[in-house]
């Protein structure tokens, strides 16, 4: 349930676009929360700043001292703000990492992750938005909720979903035993012993923590995988980018060397954000601008997580292609045979023996083979790799990728921790039950509310109750 007296935060700019990313925080503690991790070189505190001013400084993780980003922070005090509450907007540099880390600091500092459309909802409920806009507010809430639900659902794949259900069942079971002890103490029922209760709480907590940590391991899912599209000029790299994005992001011409800079955009494959970089074609060139472009392409190959090496099947397989393959030989790569619909007999490429790279035939122009390509990229990213450290997957291969899921699981583990501590201090069962219930509530945020009725059902199915 959400209330209007707490402070909410969210990333306000869409992912994968633009040179800046904004984290917005609204509510009575917005400014004090931000002050916990904002440092101005002049030692200025946001709390002292005038309303509607912009302050320059750094976001620093107060725990580790790690400098996260150089930012501009807008301070807007109630009531002259979008939500009519105190609002802080932190303008980070683009790129997902600093923005997400900044958001995490807000959440750790006491803000709650905003519900879909919640800023607008608050604006309305606080009387900021005109009545005639109420319907629009509803549409925003609905659209954003549907979007968020879809996204969360996408990310809650079978194995994770099953895992969460198992955790919920186990938590319900512990609650049922404790509640049965309280409510049916007159009945002769065999509930867990205190040691058994403590033990099951501890193992559940440990496993929850491990699952929560898998979010950190799922770096690729969270921060995205960078993929460089490379190849000799005019093999259709930009067309491939456009085909994958289903929009005209890069300028495509017949002329080799059209793309001179690295173009970045973001694509979502089964929840895996793929940051694709289209690069200039790699070839000998005398054009200065193009030379710079080629240099950047080579650099892109080095820095990218994976490489999409594109060949042109309508032309003969030549030295330039060989060089491309040579350059990606130490990378994780997919070899893409483009224009496979108009294959030339002289295209004599055969999969090189040195690399187990998957090879995919596509036609960027016609859109053929794109799904196969996406699947190949996805498998390549999630396949285990000796070089990847720390390991990306939790032991059972279940991975959390959604920040809401992670927050809920973490909260559940923390509540369980309190319950365990109370247990060790011999606190009465009804006190322990409070934290246990909180833990269940947090898990319920992921898969639907757990009610007291669920616990009673468990009690009645498990124990013979009733004089």
């Amino acid at each position: 349930m959400n209330f209007l007296d707490d402070t909410i935060a969210a990333i306000s700019t869409p992912p994968g676009e633009g040179g800046i990313g904004i984290v917005r925080c609204s509510g009575k503690d917005a400014i004090t929360i931000t002050d916990q991790f904002f440092f101005s070189p002049k030692g200025k505190k946001l709390g002292d700043a005038k309303s509607h001013t912009i302050i320059y400084g750094f976001i620093v993780d107060p725990k580790t001292g790690e400098k996260i980003d150089e930012v501009l922070v807008s301070i807007m005090r109630a009531p002259m703000t979008y939500t009519k509450e105190d609002v802080v907007e932190i303008n980070c540099h683009g790129g997902m990492l600093p923005v997400r880390k900044t958001l995490q600091l807000c959440l750790k500092g006491g803000a709650r992750l905003a519900e879909p459309g919640e800023f607008t909802k608050r604006a309305f409920l606080n009387g900021r938005i005109d009545l005639s806009q109420a319907e629009a507010v509803i549409d925003i809430i609905r659209a954003k909720t549907e979007q968020a639900e879809k996204l969360a659902l996408q990310q809650l794949d079978g194995s994770l979903s099953a895992k969460i259900t198992e955790f919920i069942d186990r938590a319900i079971n512990i609650c049922a035993h404790i509640e049965a002890c309280i409510d049916f103490s007159e009945d002769e029922i065999d509930t867990m012993t205190k040691d058994e209760m403590a033990m099951s709480m501890q193992t559940l907590k440990d496993e929850l923590m491990m699952l929560a940590q898998s979010y950190d391991h799922g770096r690729l899912f969270r921060e995205g995988v960078s993929a460089a599209i490379v190849g000799k000029p005019n093999v259709g790299k930009s067309s491939l980018l456009n085909a994958l994005l289903q929009k005209d992001r890069a300028i495509v011409t017949e002329m080799p060397g059209t793309t001179r800079d690295v173009i970045e955009d973001c694509l979502n494959i089964n929840g895996l954000p793929l940051i694709i970089m289209d690069t200039a074609g790699i070839r000998e060139t005398h054009d200065l601008a193009e030379m710079e472009g080629v240099k950047r392409s080579l650099k892109a190959i080095d820095s990218a997580d994976i490489v999409l090496a594109v060949m042109d099947a309508s032309r003969p397989f030549d030295e330039a292609d060989k060089e491309v393959i040579e350059r990606v030989k130490d990378k994780r790569a997919v070899i893409i045979i483009n224009k496979s619909d108009i294959k030339s007999p002289d295209f004599t490429f055969s999969s090189p023996d040195f690399s187990p790279c998957p090879v995919v035939n596509v036609s960027a122009l016609k859109g053929d083979g794109l799904d196969e390509l996406k699947n190949a990229v996805y498998s390549l990213c999630i396949s285990p790799c000796a070089r990847c450290s720390p390991p990306r997957c939790s032991p059972e291969g279940v991975l959390i990728t959604n920040i809401r899921h992670r927050l809920s699981i973490e909260k559940a583990a923390i509540s369980l921790g309190i319950a365990i501590e109370d247990f060790e201090h011999d606190k009465p069962l009804e006190v322990i039950a409070i934290s246990l219930m909180e833990s269940l509530d947090s898990l319920g945020e992921i898969k639907g509310t757990v009610s007291t009725e669920d616990i009673l059902n468990k009690i009645f199915s498990e124990f013979c109750i009733g004089k």
């Binding site: 349930m1 409920l125 809430i141 909720t145 103490s185 409070i434 007291t452 616990i455 009733g466």
Partner: protein, 635 residues
């Protein structure tokens, strides 16, 4: 049609709900009449002769704090009092009493008969007359009409009651009593959605044929603690209960005769309570359990009848006899009254407001088992609230609303009107979110001011309460202020109590927070200048020891309250809200929540739907207000 008389309030049914309802209405000055099918069974304890128990004991205390009658009558008729759950924390301690069944009903009848403004009439009400959406009166036996501004129906298991003993069944409201047939049809005609439930009782046994030496006696507390805040002392002689067990042979007899149980032959369609299963259910569902407890409970001081709690059954009489005689101590037992199951009609309670008034029928209130609950205490609590709210309505005052953080009664009513029920609803402490706030020891602190304001708590009781409250606050204040020095006397006492010594001045409050320390330690080290009762001492201890948790729950409750004050207008059109799914609209239309908070508690209503609803309601409310020219500001 003969018109007899006009009343302000007519109560139909004189069980536990009816008694509280009629007393409350009459005490609040309304001209009240209570109808019962049989005056001799007013306030009959038709199931086990016990009042209270876990969570139910809390309800009894709350009824008392609000000015109800149940606690007082129980104290006067109680023949055993036991505080349950003492091994747990104080929030879930709960009082239970065995009552003398005959004494209980006579004393309650006395209360009714001694009440000003209250007429008692024997007769069957056949119809409730509703005109233009509001009640006009009732038609009782012989076609006599009685006018009423408000009608409270508290008919328990009597609506189309159908009793089962084995495969035999017959219409009855209770063993040996007439059912009410016409009224149920009348309610259906009025558009109320109704369902069917089932409950049951065990056989009653002649104690002269019980070999108690083969059983284990269970005595009550000595001295017994009363339910009512106004009872000084329990004066009845106290009796034990006896515990025995079923065994393999008992279970064999039951299993062999399952085909003769109406529960298993499919004859009984009503849904029974899972927390109070019949013995055949227990034996079938928990086949590996070798024995089940049987409590032999005395029915009273002046009778040999014993209630065999734990073997409620619908099996035929001959099976009951052999089953009972297979139990240790009951080898020679004679059954005085057979066990039976009963099915009855109930009204889906989501059709009610929190005031217990039926939505859409002005002046019609329902309370007790008719709303799908089970238990004397649940019934009394609803009866009391219905009586109070009927009176408040006629006086033009706002209904008495109790929040979930305020009372088990609040939890009970909110659950019923918000979630409804599909089995007989019984209170459990686990149903309350704020269990640490809803303790049996602080029911008066929570509710007596409301009871006084309503007009049911008399002046002298309220004065006593105020004195108690100030003693309590003063003493807690004193413990915060007074610091003890690390002198040898104190430290020796601390160490002998099993805790560590202090090295600097420490507030008494801090010391009392230590798990090993009780209030008796404070008394020894720094006695209060006032003379405190053990009750107040216990309250001080609980408040100090659990302060942190209590505080936390209070904060949480405070937050939820903010959603509770966001009212949804009675005439709000849920169908007109864009962006809600059809299922959610259906649920909202069925329950018609009165607040945003209640809407959020309806099963299946998502947080997103609540957010949308909040916006839509706000729009409607703002519009309404802007017509009057006032600017909207709901926060």
């Amino acid at each position: 049609m003969h018109k007899e008389q006009d009343y302000d309030v007519i109560v139909i049914g004189a069980g536990h709900a009816g008694c509280e309802a009629s007393l409350a209405a009459a005490r609040l000055g309304l001209d009240t009449c209570i109808f019962t099918i049989n005056i001799d069974t007013i306030a009959q304890l038709s199931c086990n002769p016990a009042i209270g128990g876990l969570a139910k004991g809390h309800l009894v205390r709350e009824i008392d704090a609000l000015g109800g009658e149940m606690a007082k009558v129980t104290d006067k008729s109680g023949i055993q009092f036991r505080m349950l759950n003492l091994s747990k924390g104080p929030a879930v301690w709960s009082l239970r009493a065995q009552a003398d069944r005959v004494l209980y009903r006579l004393l309650m009848r006395q209360s009714l008969e001694g009440q000003k403004n209250l007429d008692i009439k024997q007769g069957m009400v056949e119809r409730v007359i509703v005109e233009g959406g509001r009640v006009r009166g009732v038609i009782a036996s012989h076609g006599v009409f009685y006018g009423a501004k408000v009608i409270i129906i508290t008919t328990g298991t009597f609506l189309k009651g159908l009793m089962h003993i084995g495969l035999e069944s017959f219409q009855a409201g209770r063993a040996g009593e007439f059912p009410s047939i016409g009224l149920s049809d009348c309610l259906k005609e009025l558009g109320l959605k109704m369902g069917r439930l089932k409950t049951g009782t065990p056989p009653r046994i002649d104690s002269r044929t019980i070999d108690f030496s083969k059983t284990t006696p269970q005595w009550g507390d000595d001295p017994p603690q009363p339910f009512s805040y106004s009872t000084e002392k329990i004066t009845n002689p106290q009796l034990p209960c006896y515990i025995t067990y079923t065994n393999k042979k008992t279970h064999e007899i039951i299993l062999k005769n399952l085909d003769r149980s109406p529960l298993y032959s499919g004859k009984i369609k009503g849904i029974g309570p899972r927390y109070c299963p019949s013995i055949e259910d227990k034996v079938v569902r928990f086949a590996d359990k070798e024995r089940h407890q049987v409590f032999l409970e005395p029915e009273g001081l002046e009778t040999v009848e014993y209630y065999a709690n734990g073997i409620s059954t619908s099996l035929p009489y001959d099976v009951q006899v052999s089953m009972v005689r297979s139990i240790e101590g009951l080898e020679e037992a004679e059954i005085m009254r057979p066990a039976y199951a009963i099915e009855y009609d109930f009204v889906y309670p989501t059709q009610l407001r929190h005031s217990l008034e039926v939505k859409g029928i002005d002046g019609l209130f329902l309370a007790g088992q008719i709303n799908g609950t089970s238990g004397y205490e649940e019934a009394s609590a609803q009866g009391l609230l219905a009586g109070i709210n009927a009176a408040l309505k006629l006086k033009g005052r706002e209904p008495l609303f109790l929040g979930r953080e305020e009372a088990y009664i609040g939890v009970l009513i909110d659950d019923l009107v918000t979630k409804g029920t599909s089995e007989p609803y019984r209170m459990f402490t686990s149903r309350a979110e704020y269990r640490l706030l809803l303790r049996h020891d602080n029911a008066d602190l929570r509710l007596m001011p409301k009871g006084y304001e309503t007009g049911l708590v008399p002046e002298d009781a309220y004065e006593r309460f105020i004195r108690k409250k100030s003693l309590l606050t003063n003493e807690i204040g004193r413990l915060k202020k007074i610091r003890v020095k690390p002198v040898p006397v104190v430290n020796e006492a601390l160490i002998s109590a099993g805790t560590s010594a202090i090295t600097e001045d420490v507030a008494l409050e801090k010391i009392l927070k230590r798990p090993q320390i009780g209030y008796s330690f404070i008394k020894q080290v720094s006695p209060s200048p006032e003379c405190l009762t053990p009750e107040i001492e216990a309250l001080v201890e609980i408040n100090v020891k659990y302060e942190g948790y209590i505080q936390k729950q209070m904060e949480m409750a405070e937050k939820l309250k903010k959603l509770e004050i966001r009212k949804i207008p009675h005439d709000f059109d849920f169908k007109s809200v864009p962006g809600l799914s059809r299922e959610i609209i259906e649920k909202l239309c069925e329950v018609r929540p009165e607040t945003i908070g209640q809407a959020g508690r309806i099963p299946g209503v998502t947080p997103a739907a609540v957010a949308i609803l909040m916006v839509a309601v706000n729009k409607k409310v703002s519009k309404g207000q802007s017509v009057k020219g006032s600017k909207s500001m709901i926060l």
